[in-house]
Amino acid sequence: MSQSLLLSQGKLEAFLACRRRFYLRSLRRLPWPAAPLGDESEEALARGQQFHRVMERHFLGLGIAPEEIDDGRVQHWQRQFQASGPAIPDGQLLPEHRLTVPVGRHLLLGRFDLLVVGEADGRAFAHIFDWKTGKARREADLRQNWQTRLYLALLAEGGGALRAQGGNGRSLSPDRVSITYWYAAEPDTPRTIRYTSAWHAQNWADIQAIVAQIDAALSQDNWPLTDDWDECRRCAYQVYCGRQTAGHDPLTATEEEESDELTDLSLEPQTP
């Protein structure tokens, strides 16, 4: 196989969790029914998405008053954000922004809830903001998280593509890149993580190593089943893999359901 893949956070995580799952889902695109979410998870997901939409509108300058929001919880989150949201630096505000960066023959993709790019002290910077409506996590955990690592690396490697006039370089200095997680559950304590050159050197090498492993798996067409049967507890391919005895975990929605495939929005009828 020699195809070029579009690799998002979700796909990298899938590859690391179970190569077979990565192969079945992303390469073979084998449809297998996934368990529907329970009512609670579904509601939480819908609220999370609604809040992200509210924030997107806010940073586009649409100025929507909280009382215009139908859902009480989302309304509450927005009020909290207005009262104690994180400080947003001066710069160009780019809500729901995607960045695609080549790595080898593949592409890495990130989608930021809000990206602020600009100049401070005569040097370009980029700051990602990520809104979280689920359970708050510790900063130490967030530093290890693939979302943090991939997003920071993407900006360091490809942030030059963001600057309004096209910039003249492809990268931003890592120490000018940071990410802030804002949790609706803990609005006064946003977690800000600053990137560094040393961290980037290691982090980017790690990402490249994973991509090299993907390349090796592609060339050998080798997609073993995971040894960690816990992974199978949440996996749609359990029956396909013959791992029924792993049992099931209750399904919860991840907060950022990423879709990096082109979708047919399917509102249209058929052409004769």
Partner: protein, 685 residues
């Protein structure tokens, strides 16, 4: 890549609004893709570029061009279709449009109705009307009524007409039997009711999404600001497939972009049934400072043009040169019956493949593919060892036996819903659920154990010993396990969870199916997702109890509602196989091939337009004067469409055409349609 022509280079370099005009195969799309790369290479951030394509499938070509260019990182490049953009923007700017757009609860977030859900909502509306005698004497199946009513809504919005104006046009221009006016009035009642329901429940089908975008958002100052600040360069491919609403958007956007490049495929406009307005699109040329004529065809040989001319001369009474047209025809395959046609065709294609033609360089194009022709054709290809795939745009889920089977079990699990599958359905479901159970034994089980009253399956103890022995203990035990499992289901379980459990906990287990059931999984995945969508929108559609949701779901599928995202039915397709496609499916996919088979060349299907008494695509075209609809006009349109089809096909054929025909159609009537007659000189030679 081949060297670029002078006109392509000029297009790529243009620094103002430009219009690219030429037939298919003249390199316009390549020029647009190179223009996109040029802008990026010049340092234009991808975020400021908007590429509008006619079909979602065309997005990938532009993305691939960027990915293969080695240009490095890029951010937020938008490549989309008009309807996707309309939906996305209406969702984003909802607070600006909801109240002025007439939504009763403007603070409630919008729910977009996929085409299958829109059909279910319309189905609910017309069911009540049918009971009261509406649409009486109209010889249409309910599913056809539903789809034509949605067509009217969509065509009105895409043509920039109000619903009232669209209804009025259809009634005012009708000259035939008075009965039709009554049907059109019933149609008006149904679509008005549908629209009211959507406005009351914040539901948006395609028509309302487009109407909101076209009449509220595009002219809204906040939206203008957003677009002006963001997009500096616009690239539009296949503007001839855009509707008046789409063109309106492009025209408005051109006021604020620095450059725009618009490509017009002369002879295209294949989406006329979805309100494409090629003549309006051509007028955009006037808004462009530069116009580039693409005349060098990279695909079609002169004999192909001659063949298309031959058809034009016959249909449109032109006098175009036809010298060498016969050279475009590789062979004429002619049999008395359809079976003769397909059995002669397959070896011919196998021969081409043996001589080195890749299978993906052959396309079989057919005006319509009914079940019997599909069977005959695919059987013949299989026998000849030729891989194939169906370019399926949309499909009706009830045609898939496993969908019927899984829904049969759903109906049996909930007997109080009052849906009793037939004994045949149960036998079929048993065959598909238990590996190794043949239809004959399944029929015997169904006959003995299934009671339509209830409906229910009886315990296996009701089987006489001789029959139990004949069926085998293993199978019998599985039937019993299935029965007990169905009985144990909670009445409050949502249908999507039921379908998921049915497959994963039971039917996909090795005792039911020793090998992973990949096709079954695809079908179940589709069912679970469709059921989830319905459940999530149920309240807004007016369904409140699990029984109402379940009955609507099963009923909808059984009524033949079509889906926009069909599962892969049957064996997984071979994307490198021979493509089998309907005419417009092929033309819109835009793929070029070496050999095209024009199947059933003598069928009038090549010249037919869909019979839609409740929704006339041509009367609803914005540019048409509201004059009476006449047979002459209809004939002229049919001729023009067939002429465009043939021009489009020949422009996408790099080798030759195979004409394949049967003397008699499926009803045994002799076929001699206009295309067959038009091609007579080329057939004879």
């Amino acid at each position: 890549m081949a060297a670029l022509t002078a006109v392509q280079n000029e297009t790529i370099a243009a620094n103002t609004h430009s219009f690219l005009l030429g037939a298919a195969g003249t390199g316009k799309t390549t020029a647009l893709q190179q223009r996109l790369l040029r802008l990026l290479a010049d340092g234009e951030p991808a975020y400021t570029l908007l590429v509008l394509v006619a079909e979602p499938e065309h997005q990938q070509e532009f993305l691939d061009a960027v990915h293969q260019s080695g240009l490095g990182p890029y951010a937020d490049l938008k490549i989309t279709t008009y309807t996707q953009l309309a939906q996305e923007m209406v969702a984003l700017f909802w607070p600006l449009v909801a109240r002025p757009g007439g939504f009763i609860h403007p603070h409630r977030p919008p729910t977009f109705l996929s085409y299958d859900l829109a059909q279910l909502l319309m189905w609910g509306i017309i069911s009540a009307m049918l009971r009261e005698g509406a649409f009486s004497d109209l010889r249409l199946r309910p599913q056809q009524i539903v789809s034509q009513l949605l067509d009217t809504l969509n065509r009105a919005a895409l043509n920039g007409l109000s619903l009232e104006a669209a209804i009025e046009r259809q009634i005012d221009t009708w000259v035939g039997e008075a009965e039709r006016v009554r049907h059109l009035q019933d149609a008006a009642t149904a679509v008005t009711q549908f629209r009211r329901h959507c406005l009351a429940h914040s539901l948006l089908d395609l028509s309302l999404a487009v109407q909101m975008f076209d009449t509220q958002l595009v002219k809204h100052p906040e939206f203008h600001r957003y677009f002006r600040e963001r997009f500096r360069h616009l690239i539009v491919d296949n503007i001839e497939e855009q509707t008046p609403a789409g063109q309106n958007f492009v025209t408005q956007l051109m006021d604020s972009t620095q450059t725009t490049a618009v490509a017009y495929d002369d002879g295209g406009g294949y989406k006329r049934f979805m309100a494409a307005d090629p003549s309006g699109a051509k007028r955009l040329r006037l808004n462009c400072k530069l116009a580039f004529d693409f005349t060098q065809n990279f695909v079609a040989a002169p004999e192909m043009t001659a063949l298309a001319n031959l058809v034009d001369n016959f249909l449109l009474h032109t006098n175009l040169p036809t010298l060498g047209a016969e050279k475009a025809v590789e062979r004429v395959v002619n049999g008395r019956y359809r079976r003769d046609m397909t059995s002669q065709l397959a070896p011919l294609l196998a021969n081409l493949v043996d001589q080195g033609t890749p299978t993906n360089q052959i396309a079989i194009i057919v005006p319509y593919l009914d079940g019997a022709l599909h069977y005959l054709l695919t059987q013949a290809l299989q026998e000849a060892g030729l891989p194939y795939f169906l370019l399926r745009r949309r499909s009706s889920p009830r045609e898939e036996p496993r969908i019927r089977a899984w829904l049969t079990w759903l109906a049996l699990a909930y007997p109080t819903w009052g849906l009793a599958p037939s004994e045949y359905d149960v036998a079929e479901a048993l065959t598909l659920s238990i590996s190794g159970l043949d239809p004959a034994r399944a029929a015997l089980i169904a006959e003995r154990l299934y009671q339509t009253k209830g409906p229910r399956l009886l315990p296996i103890t009701e089987l006489p010993d001789w029959l139990a022995e004949r069926i085998g203990a293993h199978t019998i035990n599985l039937v019993e396990e299935l029965r007990l499992w169905l009985e144990a289901q909670s009445p409050t379980l949502p249908i999507d969870a039921f379908l998921y459990n049915l497959f994963n906990d039971l039917l996909a287990q090795p005792r039911f199916r020793p090998e992973p059931d990949i096709s079954g999984a695809a079908v179940c995945d589709w069912l679970v997702q469709s059921a989830t969508r319905l459940r999530q929108s149920a309240q807004a559609i007016g369904l409140t109890t699990p029984a109402e949701i379940g009955v609507t779901f099963i009923d909808g599928v059984n009524q033949g509602l079509v889906t926009a995202n069909p599962p892969e039915l049957g064996d997984p397709p071979d994307p490198n196989g021979i493509m089998i496609s309907t005419i417009y499916g092929y033309l819109l996919a835009g793929q070029r091939v070496t050999y095209q088979v024009w199947l059933e060349t003598a069928a009038t299907g090549w010249w037919d337009i869909p019979k839609q008494p409740l929704s006339n695509a041509f009367v609803l075209a914005q540019s048409r004067q509201p004059i009476l609809w006449s047979t002459e006009e209809e004939f002229a349109i049919r001729n023009q469409l067939l002429s465009n089809i043939i021009r489009g096909l020949t422009n996408r054929c790099t080798g030759r055409i195979i004409l394949a025909n049967s003397d008699l159609d499926r009803r045994g009537l002799r076929q001699e349609g206009p295309l067959w007659r038009a091609l007579q000189p080329a057939r004879k030679a």
